[in-house]
Subunit: 122 residues, 2 copies
Amino acid sequence: MEKELDSETLDWRSVCPIASGLDVLGDKWSLIIVRDLIQHGTRTYSEFGDSPERISTNILAARLKWLTSLGLIEHVDPERASRNNAYRLTASGLALRPVLEELGRWSQNHLKALHPDIVDIL
Amino acid sequence: MEKELDSETLDWRSVCPIASGLDVLGDKWSLIIVRDLIQHGTRTYSEFGDSPERISTNILAARLKWLTSLGLIEHVDPERASRNNAYRLTASGLALRPVLEELGRWSQNHLKALHPDIVDIL
DNA sequence: CGTATTAACTTGTGTTTTGCAAGTTATACT
DNA sequence: AGTATAACTTGCAAAACACAAGTTAATACG
C-alpha cells in the first residue's frame, strides 16, 4: 500500500513563502501540468500524455490528485465520472501564470547556451 | 561511486523553456539556495545550514556543485581554497529574482488557507 | 612551529520518490 | 451483450533524499 499524499498530510519546511511554494510545486512535473492547462484550457487524462515531456501515468495520476487536493485544478464537470471529464485550472492555478512566464523568460535568456534548441514562445 | 550530475550530462525533456527551467531547477532545494543568496548577498557553506529549512549537508554539497556547473553561483574568490570562501550569485543566478518574487507572491495569496503561518515578506 | 579547531565536504545506510512496463476497471459505443 | 479504450493501479528496479557519522585540510592559538 502506498503512502497517500494530500494537502492535510503536508508538513511545511518553514514559514517562508518561497519555501512553501516549493513545498507544494517544487518537483519536475506539477508545473508541467499547469503549463499544459494554461496552453490548452482543458485537458483529459490521456491528453496530458501527448506532451513532449512524456510523463508516466503513475506520476500523472499522483500529481493530478495532488493538484486537485490543493485546489489548483478540478474536473470540468464535478458531477460526472472521470472518463472524458477533462481537468482545468481553478483561479488559484491560473494565478500561477506569472510564475511560469518569469521562469520561461529566465530559461530563454540564460539556458540557451546549454540548450540551444530551446524555443522562444510560451 | 556516485553518479555525478553536471551540466554536460543533463538531458532535456523538451525544447519548452518552462520544462527546461524545471529540468534545471525543479527540485525542492536549488531555489532555496538561490533565495538565501538573494537575501544575504554571500553565504558560506555552513551558513546555508542556518536557514530554517535545514538542508542536509550531502544535498547542499551536491546542489552547490550543480548550481556552480550551471553558472548560477560561484565562489567569491575563485583563486582561494573553499574554506571561508563564500558563494554568491552570478548574473544568471541573480536574474532568477523575478521568478522567486512571483512564486512568493503566489504563495502568499494562495497558500495562506493551507498554511496560516506563512509570512508576508521575501 | 606544532597542535587543536572547525569549515567544508564525503560516506554509509535506510527510506522515499521516480521511471517504465504491464495489468485492471469501467464507461460508452455498436 | 460485446468490444474498444480512457483512466487509472500495481510491481519492481533505479535514482534521489534524509540522517548520522566520518574525513580532510586550512586557520587559529599557544
